[in-house]
Each structure stands twice: as structure tokens, then as C-alpha cells.
């Protein structure tokens, strides 16, 4: 189905199932430990051997010698895979560094060997006997030092009007630099894969967000036909972008299984994960804003520097600044330097997450300079069209409504604009806010829908559910379209033998994958109508029946003995070119700072979101509170510390890389505006899972500033950065 004109009324608009707060259909499995994750397929491969990954002990250089003898002789060892013996390997286009290094080493803990043994304990013990001598080379590990050598990115700068002239002429200006650190996905389930060869066919049970990308890249890396690779990933223990791509676990499991001649499973060891896989790259961001005295932005510039391995991409931290606020003179662009740290890549809301952390502090600072309320300053600079192209409107833009509703619900009017004034015992208390913004991305997505003689509807698509609630919204979509209850719908996901979907990433999963299911259901409805000999336009599907004229036929009967099946997908025309499709929101945070120790506690949080139709308010709300939680982490604690001599992330496990825990997070409130966006898809939905992260870190930072008067521009805001500047205790 080609979607190239805005949606009109369709069966989804009935909202009998879609749009209702719905418990996840996979909930009983997940809460009883009966959902099967990648490392847990005992029934598939009862004789699986165990792989242990050895990572490089240097960040850059070469393996000088590799001695496997002692390890090979260790009890239980079946095979040891290295680049020496793995045979010729290609590289998928989505990987910057090779997944099995050697002799060249491109980053610290790049996998260099897999030890396969009968048991996990034996593989681990034998791995300690592998002796590797390295010839290290000098590398670049410091973004600030490499900044001068950074280059403009291929996308180029967005230049509108005359920024330099307008900024120089502006009566009120801000010119500040902000820093966001390297961050880790730190999803709870380590990357893991079980690989099984049957002849020249390979099946991997893995934990992956993008099934078709992984089939493609695994077959390219193994230099084998794509048709002979199958990827299965029905449950994923968190991804956040870290499982978008083929990673070492899947490649090494496949190579290990080939070498061992039997199934092999590999889970990346937690202490290896952070340096072995991808991370969100650090940024240095310079923001300049010029405004008239009444708070109208006349000039805005946002430049961001990040680093990556050769072949890696930049962190697009300035992209939201092209679209979020008005202003006739603009200069916006990203710069990239070469660094030899592990590969930087997407982490939930890449670009906007760190970009909004900087931009929305800058807006707070600018409001303060102007003597304007920060909510009012943002409202004053709203735009309903793309600032670089006045003929290109937003499909929907309710930023102002989000800001106003949030202010009212949060009690913003009680905020003291003078920082450091509000005390609650030993605590300094402040309120902060930020806008939220994340683009809505359209990508084609297909599905197959079957109707059986019992009236059961089964949806099959290679879409994944990474905790986002895909199973449930897809079931809701099929139930709505076919006029049945959720109990009559089965959803099967995460298998490359199913039609290729949008997959999970960039908050594009919900809207696109359900639109694909919508398309397949339209086709199935036509097949049902055809079988009944009625015009599909006249057929109404409701209550498990098809009603056409005077006829009323149970769906089960219409399916016939053999059932009916339909496959189709959604693909898009140029509606995302004619219109800018984005999601909007507002974050409000109350923070308390211990006046003596500088300890920061988040007390209250509210997000107001306008993101098209909300397909399942229950799981969508969870997406937003989860993102708000991650935003608290980014604001207050998350930072990969770099050893700039040896070139690696030092705090590479869940003890050293601190993420929010229960005690860090208060009760969180989320409000969704009632919105439908007929320009986005037949579902009239948009993404929401990343919107909740964009801006929240800055809202925390602004609340800390309001509480203490201390402005921190280097995330995370740890107490050492505010302690010596706190107001006098008294």
C-alpha cells in the first residue's frame, strides 16, 4: 500500500481496541519467566557448546603473536576461533570496525578470539590460557584534543540568512559551550546468540532490534547468500540502539558453531560489553543565540563536535535546532573527528538526546538574560513551519500547548525565578523545564495476516518488541481492522522468515509497523469480501462478523476450511518532504539539592507529549517514563570515563557505569495530548519512545540551576561540579 495522500476515515478510527490502555499481551510470559530470550533456547539446541569472547587488551595496534596451545589443551575445549583461522570475512556496511579483530586492532576489547568448550566454566577457564602479545600503536582518545582536526560532515551546514551579521547586531546574546559525555546503552540483557548450522544454512537465535539488517550484515560478513541465513529474535532484553546491528556475539557464535561442528551459544560478558559494542559518542556543542530585548530570536547557531572510528558517523546533535525555534538567521552543523575509541553509534534518540541537553540549557540561560519566563521565551519563538523553508509546514505542532498544559499542571507559576531562594529544610529546591522534540521517521514495513477457520487472526512480521509494546499494538491494530477481540489475535514477531518490517529504532517502530499490519489487514479484508462475493467497501468487520447489506457472516465461516492469508506493507510517498513530521513535548522537573553536600534528588517529573494518535496509552506512557528515567541518568550520573592514555572506557560494567536505580526516581506523570496526524500514516500515529528522552536532561539541569544558582554545562551534573558554588549554608 502506497501512502501518499493524507489519511481519511478508516476502520482504525473506530477506536474500539486501538487507543485503549491495554495490558501487554506478552505480560504473562515476561512476568513468569517464560518468555524465551536469546541465550535460553535449550529445546532448540540441547547440545549447545559455550563460547567465551576474548577482547583486545589494547585500543590500537596489532597482535604480535597469538599462542593458543595451552588453551587448546585445556579440558573441554572444542575449538578456538580467531581471525587467523576463521576464513575470509567481509564486513557489513553498518559496522565501522570489524567484529573479529586481528592482526589489526581497531579498538579496545574488539573481539580477537572465541573459546568454545563443553561448559561455560571450561570456556572461561581456557580463555585465561590464551596468550596474546600486542604491538600497540598511538591512538587518539580525547575529543577536546582532536576537536581542531574535526571536519564538517557530509550533510553539510544548514545556513539561513546572515547569522554572523544578525548575531553581532543582536542586543541580547548568548555564546556558550556545552559538553555531553560518552554514554552506554547498558541494556539488561547482554548481547547473546545461539548459532545452529544445518549444512550450509545458518540459523541464529539472537537479541536484535533490526532483523533484516542483521540477516544482511551477517550474510555479508560470512560471505554467504542471504537466503541461507535466518535470524530469530522474539524477545529482546532491551536494546536502546545497542542491538540495531550485527555484533560480535552473533558473528562469533556462527563461526564457533562452524568450527565446533555443533550449536554454540555466546553471551557477551558484561565487563566486555561497553568497550566491545557501541556507545553514544561524547559531544562538544557551541550554541550562540541572539535576540531582541523582547525575546524574539534573530540569530541562532548550533555547532557540535564528536569523534568516531574511521567509517563511523557523527553524533547529529544539532539537527533539532534546524526545526525547533524560529529565527531568520541560522547556522547549524555537525563536525566529526577521528578517535580510536570503540565505535560510536545510535543510542536512544541519537542526535536529539544530547543536542536537546545542550540547546535547552541555552534557552534557559537566554531566558534568564532576557528576564523572561523560560516557558514564555519558548512560546514566543514557536514556528509552525520549517524555519529554513516557510512553505513547508509541520504536519502537527502542538509544542505551545504542551508547554502551557505542563506549566499549569506542574504548578510552574509557583516557581521563584530568582535561583537559590527556595528552601525546604536542608534542601534547596528548584523547578526546571525544557521543550521536547524528536522527528517522526517513515520507513516501509510489511506484514502477513492469516485468518483461520476458527476465526483466529495471526500476524507475522519481522518487527521486534524491545520492551516498546510492539506485540500489543500490533494485536490491537489487527483486532481493530478485522473486528475481533484481542483474544482472537496472535502475533508472531522477530523472525526473518516473516515479511520485512520497519524494525525497532528511532521511535519509528510503532507507527510504521502497525501501518504495515494495517495494509496487510486491508488486503485480508478484501480477500474475505471476495470470498463472500461482496464489495469490500460495503463490508463491515465487527464483533467477529462480516456485515454486508443484509448478510451477517461469522469471520470464522468466511475464512473457510483452509483459511485466508494476505501479505502487504506500507510504503510512503513524499508527505514527509511536503510536511515536516515531528513529535513535541514539554518536560517539567522539581529537583532538590542538599545545601551542605550538593546531593541532587529529583522530586517530581512531568512530561506532556503531542505525538499523534497514542495506540496504547498504557505502554506509551511506560515508554515515556522510561525515557524520563534515562534522562535523569544522563543529567546526573551517566558518563563513560575514558583512559586517555590507553584508550578505553574504564567504568565498563554496571557497577562502574551508573544508571538510575529505584531510589533515584520519583513518581512520574505523563500527559498525552489528544492528537491525530493523518499525514504520518493510516494509523495517524507517530513515535513517542524517544521523545520522552529529548529535553529531560536539560529540564533536570535547569531545575538544579533554579535550586542553587549554579549553572553546569558539562554533563553529568555530579555534586563535585556544584559543591564549591552552592549558596552559603545558613
Amino acid at each position: 500500500m502506497k501512502f501518499d495522500i493524507p489519511a481519511t476515515t478508516n476502520p482504525i478510527d473506530r477506536l474500539t481496541v486501538v487507543g485503549k490502555p491495554t495490558d501487554r499481551i506478552d505480560g504473562p510470559l515476561k512476568t513468569t519467566g517464560t518468555a524465551t530470550y536469546a541465550y535460553e533456547w535449550h529445546d532448540v539446541a540441547p547440545n549447545a557448546a559455550y563460547g567465551w569472547v576474548i577482547g583486545s587488551a589494547i585500543a590500537k595496534g596489532r597482535i604480535a603473536s597469538l599462542d593458543l596451545e595451552a588453551a587448546k589443551a585445556a579440558p573441554g575445549v572444542i575449538a578456538i576461533v580467531t581471525a587467523d583461522n576463521a576464513g575470509p570475512l567481509g564486513k557489513g556496511e553498518r559496522n565501522a570496525a570489524t567484529l573479529l579483530g586481528g592482526p589489526e586492532i581497531e579498538h579496545y576489547q574488539q573481539a580477537v578470539a572465541l573459546v568454545v568448550a563443553e561448559t561455560f566454566e571450561q570456556a572461561r577457564a581456557a580463555a585465561s590460557l590464551v596468550r596474546i602479545d600486542y604491538a600497540p600503536a598511538q591512538g587518539a582518545y580525547d575529543l577536546a584534543a582532536a576537536k581542531g582536526s574535526a571536519e564538517k560532515t557530509k550533510a553539510g551546514d544548514s545556513v539561513v540568512g546572515d547569522f554572523t551579521g544578525a548575531f553581532a547586531a543582536a542586543p541580547v546574546t548568548l555564546d556558550q559551550t556545552y559538553g555531553t559525555p560518552d554514554e552506554s546503552h547498558a541494556m539488561m540483557e547482554p548481547h547473546a546468540t545461539l548459532a545452529v548450522w544445518e549444512g550450509d544454512r545458518l540459523t541464529v537465535w539472537t537479541s536484535n532490534q533490526m532483523i533484516d539488517w542483521t540477516v544482511t550484515d551477517l550474510s555479508e560478513t560470512l560471505k554467504m547468500p542471504k537466503e541461507k541465513v535466518r535470524v530469530i529474535s522474539p524477545f529482546i532484553g532491551g536494546g536502546f540502539g545497542g542491538k540495531l546491528f550485527l555484533r560480535a556475539d552473533a558473528l562469533l557464535a556462527a563461526l564457533g558453531a562452524r568450527a565446533a561442528g555443533r550449536p554454540v551459544k555466546v553471551g557477551l560478558q558484561r565487563p566486555l560489553m561497553i568497550n566491545n559494542t557501541t556507545h553514544r559518542p561524547a559531544t562538544i556543542q557551541r550554541i550562540r543565540i541572539g535576540a531582541t530585548r523582547d525575546g524574539t530570536i534573530t540569530a541562532i547557531a548550533h555547532e557540535s563536535w564528536s569523534g568516531n572510528l574511521p567509517g563511523g558517523a557523527e553524533e547529529t546533535a544539532t539537527d533539532q535546532t534546524r526545526l525547533l525555534y524560529a529565527g531568520p538567521n541560522r547556522l547549524i552543523g555537525n563536525r566529526i573527528a577521528t578517535l580510536d575509541l570503540p565505535e560510536g553509534n545510535a543510542l536512544r534518540a541519537p542526535g536529539e538526546a544530547p543536542g536537546m541537553m545542550a540547546l535547552e540549557i541555552a534557552m534557559d540561560e537566554m531566558a534568564e538574560k532576557l528576564g523572561l519566563d523560560p516557558v514564555e521565551f519558548r512560546i514566543r519563538n514557536d514556528t509552525q513551519t520549517d524555519p529554513a523553508d516557510p512553505d513547508r509546514p509541520f504536519s502537527q505542532r502542538q509544542l505551545v500547548q504542551c508547554l502551557r498544559i505542563g506549566a499549569e499542571r506542574f504548578g510552574w507559576s509557583k516557581r521563584n525565578p530568582q535561583p537559590g531562594q527556595v528552601r525546604d529544610g536542608r534542601w534547596l529546591v528548584g523547578l526546571g523545564m525544557a521543550a521536547a522534540f524528536r522527528n517522526n521517521l517513515l520507513t516501509k514495513s510489511a506484514a502477513r495476516v492469516r485468518l483461520d477457520r476458527n476465526g483466529m487472526v495471526t500476524v507475522e512480521t519481522d518487527m521486534t518488541d524491545i520492551g516498546t509494546g510492539s506485540y500489543t499494538i500490533i494485536a490491537q491494530t489487527a483486532a481493530e481492522m478485522m473486528g475481533v477481540g484481542l483474544d482472537k489475535v496472535a502475533v508472531r514477531l522477530g523472525d526473518s522468515s516473516f515479511p520485512v518490517s520497519a524494525g525497532s529504532g528511532g521511535q519509528w517502530g510503532a507507527n510504521n509497523s502497525t501501518a504495515g499490519v494495517y495494509a496487510a489487514c486491508v488486503k485480508l479484508r478484501e480477500a474475505v469480501a471476495q470470498r463472500l462475493g461482496v464489495n469490500s467497501a460495503d463490508a463491515r468487520f465487527a464483533d467477529g462478523q462480516v456485515v454486508a447489506g443484509n448478510r451477517r457472516v461469522p469471520l470464522a465461516e468466511a475464512a473457510g476450511a483452509d483459511g485466508l492469508s494476505a501479505e502487504d506493507g506500507i510504503e510512503y510517498g513524499d508527505l514527509d518532504k511536503k510536511y515536516q513530521q515531528s513529535t513535541f513535548g514539554a518536560h517539567y522537573v522539581e529537583a532538590a539539592v542538599d545545601s551542605a553536600t550538593g546531593e541532587i534528588r529529583v522530586r517530581r517529573m512531568l512530561a506532556v507529549c503531542a505525538a499523534g494518535r497514542i495506540l496504547n496509552p498504557k505502554s506509551a506512557r511506560s515508554q515515556v517514563i522510561g525515557a524520563m528515567t534515562m534522562g535523569v541518568g544522563a543529567a546526573l550520573m551517566e558518563e563513560l570515563a575514558i583512559d586517555k592514555r590507553a584508550g578505553f572506557f574504564v567504568n565498563h560494567d554496571l557497577a562502574g557505569y551508573e544508571v538510575p536505580v529505584h531510589a533515584d526516581i520519583p513518581h512520574q506523570e505523563v500527559i498525552f495530548l489528544d492528537e491525530t496526524d493523518p499525514i504520518s500514516s493510516p494509523m495517524k500515529a507517530k513515535g513517542v519512545g524517544e521523545l520522552g528522552l529529548c529535553g529531560v536532561g536539560a529540564a533536570v539541569a535547569n531545575a538544579v540551576h533554579n535550586a542553587t544558582g549554579v549553572r553546569v554545562r558539562e554533563y553529568p551534573i555530579t555534586l563535585d561540579k556544584i559543591l564549591d558554588r552552592l549558596p552559603a549554608v545558613g
Binding site: 519467566g33 577457564a125 541494556m187 520492551g467 517514563i625 590507553a646
Partner: protein, 227 residues
């Protein structure tokens, strides 16, 4: 059964392994400019290397009950309770998130107390009674805490969830038993069932999806109904 000599050899192997691990961590700190080669392990060069350490697994018999069912196992003594459950008994509801006691995903209830199953060896639990997520309830018959997690959407990816639920069940029992926590204001009074107590006591169970607000709602719901 292993002989005492085997045990001695294994201990030596273990010590060697430990030294190698320490060197692995230390190696990257050497300034590359000064080191032509960086050895990954602290083992001496081949000429002086001692005999290859014998790493023959030492097996030991152990018996404990899991979810009311007795299991007699013969395990490599290095096997954690977590791997005994997941890899030997195929009870994969208990999750391996970090294998280092950092995340809580492997929380199970042993003899009434919640523990990280990755931080304890299986052979240490002779005669013990283990309850895992599978022992609390089934999809057809959910434990009240499992049902509350579903109702409050107290999970997303589901990977920390069994640990959160086991932890929550045992945690409410700890409050009932009068065990104080870091946030208990009055150590002489009985701890109260409050959200601050839940948040403090549940902080060993990380949820990266960030379902904390909903998890606390689920726990509060169960605690209210039990009260």
C-alpha cells in the same frame, strides 16, 4: 569423587588464573609509547613457564529443592547457582544480566531470603530451598505480584522483571519481619510499608527500561491488598 591432590592442583590453577585476570586489567594502563609489546597475561615466557595448570573440572554432588522439587546434581564446583538454574535445570526465568552481582536480574529467594544467584556457587546450597520466578506463578495462574506487574505495566523489555518480582516479594516480607533499611527513620520502631522504603530496598534491581515508577505502583498495590 575428586582426590585431594586434584583439589590442590585446581587451587594452584585458580591462583594462576587470578593472577592472569589482574594482569589483564593492568595491562592497558601501561603507556604504549614505552612498551614495544604488551603481554596480555602475567605468565612468564614459554622457557620458564611452569607446567600447564590442570583445569580438570572438579565435580561435586549437591542436592537442593527448586520450587518445591528436589534436584540431585553433580556440578562443576565453579558453577554458580544462576548457571545451575539456567543451564542445568533449564529454569531460564532467572536472568543473567551481569554475572557480577551488579544488576539484580538473577534475584531468587533462597531459604526465604533474596539473593543474587550469580554471586553464590550452586554447591553451597546443599539442602537449600530455592524459589525462582517459575515457582511464584504461571501464565495461567499468576502470583499477585506478577499480576500487579502486568496491571501496572511494571516492565518493558522483561529481562529484569523476574528479578524485580522475586525481589519485591521477599522485600515485603523483610518489612513485615521488621528488618530496617537505610531510609528507616526510627530503627527502634517497625519499618513502615512506604514507597520510600520500597525504592530504597529495591535499588539492587536495575531496570534500564526505567519502569521504576510503575514497579513501585505494583508493589504498593500488592502491599495494600496484603495489609
Amino acid at each position: 569423587m575428586p582426590q585431594s591432590g586434584d583439589l590442590d592442583m585446581t587451587r594452584r590453577g585458580l591462583l594462576l588464573g587470578t593472577a592472569a585476570t589482574a594482569a589483564l586489567t593492568a595491562a592497558p594502563f601501561r603507556a604504549p609509547a614505552r612498551a614495544a609489546t604488551v603481554g596480555e597475561t602475567a605468565m612468564p615466557p614459554p622457557a620458564t613457564r611452569p607446567a600447564t595448570p590442570v583445569l580438570t573440572p572438579v565435580l561435586s554432588k549437591v542436592a537442593f529443592t527448586v520450587n518445591g522439587q528436589r534436584h540431585d546434581l553433580e556440578l562443576d564446583t565453579r558453577t554458580t547457582l544462576l548457571d545451575a538454574l539456567r543451564e542445568h535445570l533449564h529454569l531460564t526465568g532467572t536472568k543473567k544480566g551481569c554475572d557480577h552481582g551488579q544488576c539484580g536480574a538473577c534475584t531468587v529467594i533462597v531459604d526465604g531470603q533474596r539473593i543474587n544467584a550469580c554471586l553464590t556457587l550452586a554447591v553451597m546450597h546443599e539442602g537449600g530451598s530455592v524459589t525462582t520466578i517459575e515457582g511464584l506463578g504461571t501464565p495461567a495462574k499468576l502470583h499477585p505480584m506478577q499480576a500487579a506487574f502486568v496491571a501496572h505495566d511494571g516492565y518493558q523489555c522483561g529481562y529484569c522483571t523476574p528479578g524485580q518480582i522475586c525481589s519485591a516479594v521477599a522485600m515485603l516480607d523483610e518489612i513485615k519481619a521488621g528488618v530496617p533499611s537505610h531510609v528507616t527513620a526510627d530503627l527502634t520502631a517497625r519499618p513502615q510499608a512506604t514507597v520510600d522504603e520500597y525504592r530504597e530496598r529495591m535499588s539492587g534491581n536495575i531496570c534500564r527500561c526505567g519502569a521504576y515508577s510503575n514497579i513501585v505502583d505494583a508493589i504498593s498495590d500488592v502491599a495494600r491488598r496484603e495489609a
